[in-house]
């Protein structure tokens, strides 16, 4: 019989088809969808996050694990009522205007999702106005911005400025990251935190929400 541990193992192995099959079997056996998420899918991604942090695995392994987790989530999520589905927090994330780098931001999004956050990924080349409208629409606890270029870093500051001017700054914590981004820059532009990598971003997000 399928077990939650087997689901976690299949997520770790990045086997999306097997995860889907195991999730269906667990549901048929009467296991609660929230248990499947927390003790199967998320548990598997937590192991992946830990291994990635320790340099035991690399981004390709994280990608296929996240895809396997998503395959499982797509089956169980529709079965859960909104009141039962309590994510750790809600995050809107995107790469700032003028910058089309996607991988780092996507990795952070996957890691956050794997840690139980609800993630709205806006994509790349996101204008300050679009970030602001996403905050209004989704009411996230956290906003994550990524920039891989010094030429686009100032758009992080522009976005924060517009968030302040829109009266939304108190509603949302803001975290930033990307190769040329630093803690000092985060402090300078008034973000709430900076993360050097995807694993640290999850730790930072959890710390800020606590």
């Amino acid at each position: 019989m399928a077990t939650l541990k087997a689901i976690a193992t299949a997520v770790i192995s990045g086997k999306a088809v097997e995860v889907s099959r195991l999730v269906e079997e667990c549901l048929a056996a009467g296991i609660k969808p929230t248990d499947i998420i927390n003790n199967g899918l998320v548990s598997g991604m937590e192991t992946i996050a830990e291994r990635f942090k320790n340099n035991d695995i690399y981004i390709p392994e994280v990608f296929v694990a996240a895809r396997a987790m998503t395959a499982g989530l797509s089956i169980v999520k529709p079965l859960i009522s909104a009141s039962d589905l309590q994510p750790v927090g809600k995050v809107v994330i995107g790469t700032v205007k003028g910058d089309l780098h996607d991988i780092g931001k996507k990795l952070v999004a996957m890691m956050l999702e794997g840690a139980g956050f609800a993630v709205i990924d806006l994509g790349v080349d996101i204008s300050p106005e679009r970030f602001v409208s996403a905050i209004k629409e989704h009411q996230p606890h956290l906003l994550g911005m990524s920039s891989l270029l010094t030429t686009t870093m100032p758009n992080m500051a522009q976005t924060i400025k517009l968030i302040v001017e829109s009266g939304l700054r108190d509603q949302v914590k803001i975290i930033i990251g990307g190769a040329p981004v630093t803690e000092a820059y985060s402090n300078e532009i008034g973000a709430d935190g900076y993360a050097a990598d995807a694993g640290s971003a999850v730790d930072l997000a959890k710390a800020l929400l606590n």
């Binding site: 695995i57 990608f63 296929v64 010094t150 030429t151 100032p154 820059y185």
Partner: protein
Amino acid sequence: MATLTPRKRVELALYGSQGDRVPFTMYDNMIPQCQTERELRNRGLCIVMRPSVFSIHRPNVKVYSEPVYQDGHNMVRTYYETPVGTVNALSERVSFTSWLHEPMFKTPNDYKVLLFMISDEVYKPNYEAFARSQAHFGEDAIFRASFGLEPLQTLISGNYLNTEAFCIEWMENRDEILKLYDAIVEKRRQVYPIVAESPASHANYGGNVVPEIIGKEVFRDYYVPHYNEAAEVMHKHGKLIGCHFDANCKAIADSIADTALDYIEAFTPHPDTDMTLGEARQAWPDKVLWLNFPSSVHLRPDDEIEETTISLLDQLSNVSGIIMGITEDIPQDRWQKSCTAIMNGLDNHAQYHPELYARPK
């Protein structure tokens, strides 16, 4: 020592020595011609030119393109028609670079087309344009050739696949990826002698390696052998070879140390990456470090940029084989002040530590 030209100053450092101060270089496409650029060149800025020494032709691939307007952007969809099928890529020209919105690879059915395209590549030396351009530009520039990307890196950051597609395919269709890799390896071997026999004194072999994607074992097994193979050919002709390592390098530092590469280009020190300049020098004592000044610092006040320049060099017990460079775009409103501050820092370091530099006669 007579007064050094910008090019001579770079060459001295590139061969492991040092002139009257650490040379300062910028890629030609990152600095516009203007008064400040002229002033910087008068102070010793050396422009890095990177024309190719060979042309690439695919005689059996028909290439055509069409303009695409998508999400408010003007893009180009380019089609590559081969006898075994057609692939296409969507790209957008932005400033001096091109953004790849869609790689050629869309589904595993595309593998045979990509393999054909790689195998169909024909290389032809193109030395004359390189030599003529080098002669015309004179002492304000240094010219560098390139081999292209490393075989595996071609599949990560080239136009065939994008990084995400590579990651998935590396996990799920590794045999197919390795078939492409093997084909590129063979093709690169045709390029090594062309570059080595060219008028270029040195050449870069690939780069933009991200250890978080490939890991240290893959780097050791799929990258290092190719650097060494190309280096052997280059060294036989008395030429230098380097690689553009601008990301975190700590995880692969030992493997880089084991390569026959002569210089590490675009090494970007902390705070932008996980290694300081001092750590890099310790990890690669026999290699020239051709730096990329940490991009994040360009946004700091001018005096802080100058201080950072000096404190970077202060991490070293000697400055032989050190070149300060810019390999990333700088915001338009910052480059003039930032580059001036870096040059001030380099000049001041030479003034504060004359014992580390060659004395002009």
